[in-house]
């Protein structure tokens, strides 16, 4: 079953990770509306610039591509929707966590100590941000051009809309926007983030998303027979049936919600020096390479993202690399058989489960990707649940982030670098907040007590802030304990946003949202 969605009504960032489509540069900025009419007037003029999820036909042949030079998307906080004059009844229908916004949820999200809201960038202090605007570009110039266009639109409404400044940029300078960019090596965009891991591999596949069906295995939901099926649309887009066979909680009228969704925005600072020092220190006693230890944190090898279940130790990784290199060489020479084998091998980067790794001897049970997408692994007794992925299918996150700041040579803890983490889901509470609270900062579901994620957990350098690298008990080796884990990642700001459909955006702009 593949029900078509109206991709022209859905904002493009919901269905497309722009990075993957050749847009390595981005700028995010935040608006404040000062009066209803001017704000709505501005939106009306902005709508023609908004990028939809329409398919780009020429993706595989760049010269014929119909994709734009720059994209633009917009989303609103609850306070933003209030400022635009939505009726009370519509506002009341939004989910509670969205109405509260991110700051009051700090205790749920583990935003404590250096991550507490009082340390966030000035843009998040005081009054609430009203809207988020994003521009993605194939080059920095196209981003800046689009930014100038939008600034001009704002001027035309004379003070009704302003940009909220206060993003900490390089050298501590305050900027009116947040720039983000893929990490470049030798002039080429890479999929790396600043700790040195390849990122952006695992993302969900849902019914009607318009993506190539070849991307389904490993990204959809796991069936009992080991095959993958698209997740229900309603897990990611409002107004469509979700995995519980109902419509997601959404405001009235239907047209306001349908084809819209929610987005989490978080500026996550990476303490690169702390991270490197910790890895160096732990690697001294670790039976394996530094890279293997890093992989034991994330669940994937840093250099090429190969999952640990595919290559669980240094020897297996060397063999895998060699096999890849040989196949790539033959494939480049046009060997059809090698091309097929290469494709099959590459599919294993995403199409895997933890079924053969119950003990976590390959991929530790507390590794970042095993926590954040448990695949079938919470069904510890086969056949216990209705589906192997029963406990994860409704906790999936569509990640849409990019790294910001930093050059690899310059990075220490104080320099500005990290990830602008954005994730899209139909319920912020059930999907993002649950994963962040229960699986990142807690481990009861994994039978690991209060242990936290190495990379992004709210750790504080205490003995009990630890990660266990499990072993196969039959091999007579002890598990490896990474203790005294410091805070590798700190939150520097963020909020919860509603991404309306084009229809809803138009209705908001006209001021005709009417739940009567």
């Amino acid at each position: 079953m593949n029900r078509p969605l109206d991709l022209y009504d859905i904002q493009g960032n919901i269905c497309k990770g722009y990075g993957r489509f050749g847009f390595p540069k981005a700028r995010y900025f935040f608006l404040e509306f000062h009066d209803y009419a001017g704000g709505r007037n501005f939106l009306q003029q902005l709508i023609p610039l908004i990028t939809t999820a329409e398919p780009w036909t020429g993706r595989k042949q760049p010269d014929q591509s119909d994709k734009p030079a720059a994209t633009t998307n917009i989303a609103f906080t609850y306070h933003g929707l209030c400022a635009l004059g939505l009726p009370r009844r519509s506002l009341d229908g939004f989910p509670q966590e969205f109405k509260m916004g991110m700051k009051p949820r700090a205790a749920i999200l583990g935003d404590n100590g250096p991550s507490s809201p009082q340390h966030w960038d000035p843009v998040w202090q005081g009054d609430t941000v009203h809207a988020w605007v994003s521009i993605n570009g194939q080059t920095q110039e196209t981003v800046e051009q689009r930014f100038a266009d939008i600034e001009a639109l704002m001027q035309s409404v004379q003070g009704s809309v302003s940009i909220r400044p206060g993003h900490k940029g390089p050298d501590g300078k305050m900027l009116p926007y947040q720039d983000a960019s893929a990490v470049f090596e030798n002039g080429k965009a890479t999929p790396k983030e600043h700790f040195g891991f390849v990122d952006g591999i695992g993302n969900p596949y849902f019914e009607g998303c318009g993506n190539d069906p070849e991307r389904l295995p490993g990204r959809g939901k796991l069936n009992r027979d080991g095959k993958w099926e698209p997740l229900a649309t309603g897990e990611f887009i409002l107004g469509h049936i979700d995995e519980a066979k109902e419509y997601p909680l959404a405001p009235e009228p239907h047209l306001l919600a349908r084809n819209g969704t929610f987005m989490v925005y978080r500026k996550l600072h990476e303490n690169v020096k702390t991270f490197n020092d910790y890895v160096d220190n732990m690697a001294k006693d670790f039976d394996g390479s530094r890279e293997l230890l890093m992989a034991k944190f994330s669940g994937r090898w840093p250099d090429n993202g190969a999952p640990l279940v595919l290559a669980p130790d240094d020897k297996a990784k060397a063999e895998l690399d060699q096999k890849m290199a040989e196949l790539q060489k033959k494939a480049a020479e046009g060997d059809a058989c090698a091309i097929g084998q290469l494709k099959a091998l590459e599919e294993q980067w995403i199409n895997f489960t933890y079924n053969d790794d119950k003990h976590g001897a390959k991929c530790p049970i507390g590794a970042h990707i095993r926590r954040t997408n448990t695949r079938g692994s919470l069904e510890t007794e086969k056949g216990a649940f209705d589906r192997p992925g029963a406990l994860v299918d409704r906790r999936r996150l569509m990640r849409r982030g990019l790294p910001y700041g930093g050059h690899d040579e310059l990075t220490n803890d104080d320099s500005e670098q990290g990830i602008i983490f954005m994730c899209i889901s139909a319920s912020i509470e059930r999907q993002f907040e649950f994963v962040q609270q229960q699986w990142v900062n807690y481990s009861n579901d994994f039978h690991l007590g209060n242990d936290r994620d190495v990379l992004i957990g709210a750790n504080n350098g205490k003995l009990t802030d630890k990660h266990i690298v499990q072993v196969n008990p039959k091999e007579g080796k002890a598990p490896f304990f990474c203790t005294h884990m410091p805070r590798m990642v700190e939150t520097r700001g963020g909020d919860y946003f509603f991404i309306p459909s084009i229809t809803a955006l138009d209705m908001i702009a006209q001021g005709i949202i009417d739940p009567t």
Binding site: E97, E246, F385, D386, R430, N444, G449, E475, K477, A478
Partner: protein
């Protein structure tokens, strides 16, 4: 009033049943438990649960505090569902409904106006409507989830055995035995800590309780 104590949540749900289906249902419960089918496996695998218990109370057998308490004339028999679990209400109901929906339906199927466990929000409403809040809820080990207790017990027993077996080992042998001990118990070594916050509402309650204690202390000092 709170249904929350430390890492635990206590849930009581009392749902009406026609008196004759109650009899029939008792039989079904009995058969299910005897044959230990798939549903119980699902329940046991949901490790956030301390326990879950379904009791059928016939309409003529409601307890009275004393013989002097007049007998109630009830139209329905009732099913009392009691559970203690780790995590919040939503997390629990969600996990139940995602993982073992058909099992739940089997237990509640004959209850009046039971909507089925999917779609989820009808089930939410049914449970909320019939839930009886706890007047008092006590937890002797607020930092421990059921899994923490189970793993601690396992570790305790295994450590005892280990201790008995190492007396005559030389250093080399001890190292070997110790490493094997760690490997064998690697799933029982999670850190112990505070409960994650169950909800923003519960955070408020905690703040208020804290304020109440501070006020009471201040008042106590003044009196002294």
């Amino acid at each position: 009033m709170s249904n929350v104590a430390g890492k635990a949540y206590g849930m009581n749900v009392l749902t009406p049943l026609r008196w004759w289906t109650a009899l029939w249902q008792k039989l079904i419960f009995w058969v299910v438990v005897k044959t230990f089918p798939y549903f119980l496996k699902g329940l046991l695998t949901l490790s956030l649960i301390h326990y879950a218990r379904w009791t059928i109370i016939n309409r003529w057998s409601f307890p009275r505090l004393d013989k002097s308490q007049p007998k109630e004339k009830l139209s329905y028999s009732y099913m009392l569902f009691e559970s203690n679990f780790n995590g919040s209400w939503d997390q629990y109901i969600d996990s139940f409904s995602f993982a073992i929906p058909s099992g739940l339906d089997m237990f509640w199927r004959w209850n009046i106006k039971y909507p089925k466990s999917i779609p989820l929000h009808d089930f939410y409403n049914y449970i909320r409507f019939n839930q009886i809040e706890s007047g008092h809820y006590y937890n002797a080990y607020p930092l421990a989830a059921a899994n923490d207790v189970k793993t601690a017990q396992k570790l305790f027993t295994n450590l005892g055995t280990f201790q008995q077996n190492i007396a005559n080992l030389n250093d080399e042998e001890f190292l070997q035995a110790y490493q094997q001990f760690l490997a064998d118990n690697q799933h029982s070594l999670g850190s112990m800590g505070e409960s994650p916050l169950m909800s923003a509402s519960h955070e408020l309650v905690q703040e208020h309780q804290h304020a109440n204690i501070m006020m009471a202390r201040a008042a106590g000092k003044q009196e002294a």
